[in-house]
Every structure is written in structure tokens, then in C-alpha cells.
Amino acid sequence: MTTIALLAIALLLAASPAAALDGADILRKVDANLQPESFESYRKLIDVQPSGARREFLLWTLKKGKDKIAALFLEPASEKGRATLRLGDNMWLYIPGVGKPIRITNLQSVTGSVFNNADIMRLDYHTEYDVRTIEEQAGAYFLDLRAKTTAVAYDRLKMWVDRKTLLPTRIECYAATGLLIKTLYFKEPKPFDDGRLRPAILETDSPLYKGYRSYMVYARIKKRVVPDEVFTLDFLPRIETMR
């Protein structure tokens, strides 16, 4: 009798997705659904000013594993050849013709966008954040995330995840002071090169930049594994040869 009761409880728990998945699992699935662990992608950053004027940047990105990511600006002409590299908490910017790559910080923005360097060279969320609490809301999971270290750009994230697709729909990014820095909106899911459904547009606005909006539009995300040597300072000036 006891065995049957335990089996029944186990079956009930298995049937309930919230019970089957803890916060950390959901966050890992969100990461896997947003992008492969190692990939290359082409994306466009679009900054829209309150006047409606817009400025666009085309980026090619390579990511490998948990903590290696490099991005190369292909357009506009004034930014062509600029490259950024991130190895864990270390970030560098290479400007062709200027000198050796210089160290930059994750809160800066190399484009002048609402997106900062941490957004443009984002590592997986579960690499940088722990799930403090998880709540079930109508059609969504709400995850309260805290940064694992002080080196992370945002101290706290509030993430709403669609229960069916396990893709985020909205993320609020907060500073340690509790100040809302920006909100990210994930839009227009579409199948990418590997057939997986992913949001093609990431939109952001910020109370710090009222009236400004920025978009990150993904056109290609393809699994690709390159040698670790590509993610080094000495290779950064040659990064375009990997395209």
C-alpha cells in the first residue's frame, strides 16, 4: 500500500512541469534554447533615437563554451574591423590601426547603444547567475536571478520564461542599488540554421535613456566549434579570417 502511494505521488510530481524542473534546470534550458553553447552568428544592432533617427551595426560573433566570445564589426564603415574579445570577466577592444587591444569593461558600450558590452558579448545566464527563487505565473515561470560575482554587469535579473517554449519573454536588469538599468524583450521566434525556434529580435529600453530603443536582430545562428586559440589577444586582429 505504501509503495502504491509513493508511486502515485511520484507520478503526480512527474506530470507537473514546475515540480519536474527546478530553477537551475529551467535556466540551463533557457540558455540552450537561446543559443548553442558554441556557435557563430550574424546580427544587427539597431539604435533608434527619440527623433526616429537610427544607426545600425552589423556584427559577426563567435562563441565557444561557457566563457569565450569574440565579436567583429562588419558595418558601418567607421566601425569596420573593430573587434571585441571576452574571456570570462576579461574584455578587450581592438581598433584597427590604433594599437594593441585595450581592456574595456562590461558596462561600457562600444556602439553608443542602450546595449552595453555585457549584452553584446553575453555569456550564458547560468554561467553568471544563480536562481534565488522561482514562481509559477500565468503561462510563465518567473525567475529571480542573482549575480554569482560582483564582476557581472547586472547584480539582479528578473526573468519571465514562457512555459511552453522555455524561452525568455522579458528580462529586467537591476544594479546592486536596486535601480532598473534596462528591460530586454525577446520577440519574433523563428527557426534558425539548426531548426530550433529562437527569438530573432531582442529589444531593449531603459529608464536611464528615455525615448531611446535598441534592437539586436539575429539573422543567423549556427553551431560551430573553433580552436581555443581563436579567442586570444594575439589572434584578435586576425579574427576576420575565421569568417
Partner: protein, 443 residues
């Protein structure tokens, strides 16, 4: 005659600013995924790139007719209180890649018209081919800038690069002809990367003749490591064109918004020949050290501070530089009273060498503060830079405004005020002040 470049400037500005209005009018929030995908597909398929910029720069110099370097330049004539100069520069950059081979070229065509100087020239800044059989191995051959060092304004360990202009350190430099091999390995753990670079640099009458003594094959090597999140380099140069030298540098983020960096170089057998006030040279050969320490700090309000201290080992002391200025004064006085140009011409020769280099003395302090997009003006960056000669307390102050009203158009306005007592470095420069506007359009 002087009005023509001004009219050309106005015309160029007008031509560049007209598309700005057109682009603004186009601004909408519409995102068309299909269009973006097509645009990206076109970019992906291209194995080549051709681009660059067109730049127009009018400059007004406020001349200091009492200064030593003015008297050296114009000892037999008076150029007045101000002088204008107009520079038109076309920068072309091209690259091509196929399989493991790639080619890169950067060249300048420059025309200068001005009250003091007029010239036109074409310079090949860089032009080299690369073989990259695997990502961790590369071989470059041709004219290349090597870019060693972590400093922003100065790089004492840049043994085979031309010196930067500390007043404008982001200007592209001209390279030297060389062959360079590079091997990179990555690891897990505290030692993340090791890279080794070896360079051979020939110098003869036709190749790299301005590098140093001719008819020598020079070699240099650098070992880089990313260890405990710190960039570390050890480098060495030897060969007959310049004396042997050793260097180390480092850079590390102590906080996410606070970076420290430094360079140290030991230069063997440096020949120094300072003159006394009578112009007699005292030749001395010794080993000297140069070093630099600096920080880069970003505030929450996105103000970036760069501060550096530079010790220039082979530089002149305050007393040696004063002796040089006294010699110039004596040579100028001799010319004015007797017409004898012997002394002033010797001083001119000296000024073309070590005395006339940018920052020829021992100790310098550099500070730059730049504010990103103040008053919510997007793509606008004001900055203030100063370089202080620590020994003689003379300095230059450079306020600067950079604005990019539309994509690919950059406007930069700069002023420079040179301040110093007589017989100090900045007090004896040819100019008291400088005003410049740079209009650059990228294509």
C-alpha cells in the same frame, strides 16, 4: 589664395551634412527581418573588403615668435602671429582572403596646403600577406605595424614601431618591412593563453632605412601570457641597427571598471650626446631604463579617465635642455648681430635629431578625461587631455569635442594651448596654441 581651402572646407561640410538630413528623415522603428537577412548574406559572401575615409582638416597655428623652435624654423624670416594649414587626406584600406592566405593594405594620399608648408605625398602605411594554416599559427611578410606595449600615450617597449604622437595616440602609424611568425596556445586553468612572436627586420639603404644603422638583419621576439587574468609580455630586440633592448609589460583589470597597466624597458649601450650652452657635445654611452605606469578608470556616469606616468630613460634632463635653448638663443643672437649662421644651423641640425623629438625629456605625466554622451547628446564625446613635463613644469592642454551626427561622419574640434616658462619644453615650442577641425567621412 588663402580663401580657396576655406571654401573647399565649406563645400565639403555641406556635401557631408546633406545626407545627414536625408538619413534622419528615414528614421523609423521598422525592423524587416527579410531585408536584414539579405543584407547579411551579401556581406558573408564577399572575400574582399575595400574602404577607408576622406578627411579634411583645417588648422590654425598661433605662433610664438620668441620661442626657440620658432627661431630655429624661421630664423631668417618672420611668419607673423598666425599660420593656417589645410590637410586633405584619403585613406584606403583593402583586404582579400582565400583559404589560408590573406592580404591587407592601408595607404594614405595626403595634400597639405598652408602658409608654412605645402606638399603632396602618398604613403604605404601597411601592406602585408599572411599565411594562417591553423588558427594557432601565422606567418606575415610585408610592411606591418607590430604594436607592442600596453601604454596609451607612450610605449617604451614598442621596440620596432615608430613612436606614437602622445597628443593624438590613436592615429594610425606607418609600419616597417618585416617577416613575423606567431604561435598561440590556449589552456584551461589560471594560464589561459601563451603566444610567441618572432620577427626578422632587415635594414639597408632601400628597406627600412629610417629604422637605424643600415646593412643589418635585426631580430625581435615577444612572449605573451594571460595568467591569472593578467596580460603579461616579455620582449627582446637585438641587431646592429639599434642597440639590444629588453622589455616587459602588463595589464590587468583590478575592478571591472578599473584597469592598471605598465611597461618597463632596459636599453643597452644608449649613446647620449647632450650639448652644453656653447654647443659642445658630451658623448656618453650607458644602459638606460624607460618605464610607464598607468590606469584607465570608468565611472558610473561613463567618464573615462586615463592617467599615465612615463619615464623616458634616454631623454634629456632639465639642465641639458636649458643648455640647448641657451645655445639656440646665442646662435640666433649671433645671426641677428653678425649674419653668421654657423651656430643657428648647427642648432637646426640638433633639433632635427633628439632635441626635436616629441617629448625629448625624462619625465612626463599624461591625463585624459572623456565623457560619453553628456546632456543626452548621442554620439557626442567631449574630452580634456593634458601632458605635463614633470621636470620643467611646462604643459599642453587639449580640449576636444567629437561628434558623429550621422553614420560614418565624424567631426572633431580640438584646441591645444602650450604653456611654459622660457627654456622649458612647451614654452619653447613653435606654437602658443593650435585650433583644428577634422571632418572625416568613412566609406
Amino acid at each position: 589664395m588663402r580663401a580657396a581651402p576655406g571654401a573647399a572646407a565649406a563645400l565639403l561640410l555641406w556635401a557631408l551634412l546633406v545626407p545627414a538630413g536625408a538619413l534622419r528623415a528615414q528614421g523609423t522603428d521598422e525592423i524587416r527581418l527579410e531585408d536584414i537577412e539579405k543584407e547579411i548574406a551579401r556581406t558573408v559572401e564577399r572575400p574582399y573588403h575595400l574602404g577607408g575615409f576622406l578627411e579634411f582638416q583645417p588648422t590654425l597655428f598661433g605662433l610664438d615668435r620668441d620661442a626657440a623652435f620658432y627661431r630655429l624654423q624661421f630664423f631668417d624670416r618672420d611668419e607673423g602671429a598666425t599660420a593656417a594649414q589645410y590637410d586633405l587626406r584619403l585613406r584606403l584600406e583593402g583586404s582579400y582572403r582565400k583559404d589560408i592566405f590573406s592580404l591587407f593594405v592601408r595607404a594614405d594620399a595626403l595634400t597639405t596646403q598652408g602658409d608654412l608648408d605645402s606638399e603632396s605625398r602618398i604613403d604605404l602605411l601597411e601592406g602585408f600577406g599572411s599565411l594562417k594554416p591553423v588558427p594557432g599559427l601565422a606567418l606575415d611578410a610585408g610592411k606591418k605595424v607590430v604594436k607592442w606595449g600596453k601604454g596609451y600615450a607612450w610605449n617604451p617597449v614598442a621596440f620596432i614601431d615608430r613612436p606614437k604622437n602622445p597628443e593624438d595616440p590613436e592615429l594610425a602609424l606607418e609600419g616597417f618591412y618585416l617577416v613575423a611568425g606567431e604561435a598561440i596556445r590556449s589552456f584551461d586553468g589560471p594560464l589561459k593563453t601563451v603566444a610567441f612572436t618572432a620577427i626578422a627586420l632587415p635594414v639597408d639603404r632601400d628597406v627600412n632605412e629610417d629604422f637605424g644603422e643600415t646593412d643589418h638583419l635585426n631580430v625581435a621576439a615577444k612572449l605573451y601570457a594571460l595568467l591569472f587574468d593578467t596580460d603579461l609580455d616579455v620582449m627582446v630586440f637585438t641587431g646592429g641597427s639599434r642597440t639590444t633592448r629588453f622589455g616587459v609589460d602588463f595589464a590587468r583589470n583590478i575592478l571591472t571598471n578599473f584597469e592598471v597597466h605598465g611597461e618597463w624597458a632596459l636599453i643597452r649601450d644608449v649613446e647620449q650626446a647632450p650639448i652644453n650652452e656653447r654647443g659642445q657635445a658630451m658623448r656618453r654611452v650607458s644602459d638606460v631604463m624607460s618605464y610607464l605606469v598607468g590606469i584607465r578608470y570608468l565611472t558610473e556616469r561613463e567618464t573615462t579617465f586615463i592617467v599615465e606616468y612615463y619615464h623616458n630613460g634616454p631623454g634629456f634632463t632639465g639642465g641639458q635642455m636649458e643648455d640647448f635653448f641657451r645655445f639656440v638663443e646665442a646662435g640666433d643672437a649671433a645671426f641677428r648681430s653678425t649674419g653668421n649662421t654657423t651656430a643657428i644651423r648647427r642648432a637646426i641640425t640638433l633639433a632635427e635629431g633628439a632635441y626635436g623629438r616629441p617629448n625629448p625629456m625624462r619625465s612626463y605625466f599624461y591625463a585624459r578625461a572623456s565623457q560619453k554622451e553628456p546632456f543626452d547628446i548621442l554620439y557626442f564625446t567631449p574630452a580634456l587631455t593634458t601632458i605635463v613635463n614633470v621636470e620643467d613644469r611646462s604643459f599642453v592642454v587639449i580640449p576636444e569635442l567629437i561628434y558623429s551626427p550621422v553614420t560614418n561622419l565624424e567631426l572633431r574640434f580640438r584646441a591645444a594651448a602650450l604653456v611654459g616658462e622660457p627654456r622649458t619644453e612647451y614654452g619653447e615650442k613653435q606654437n602658443d596654441y593650435r585650433l583644428e577641425l577634422r571632418v572625416r567621412y568613412y566609406f
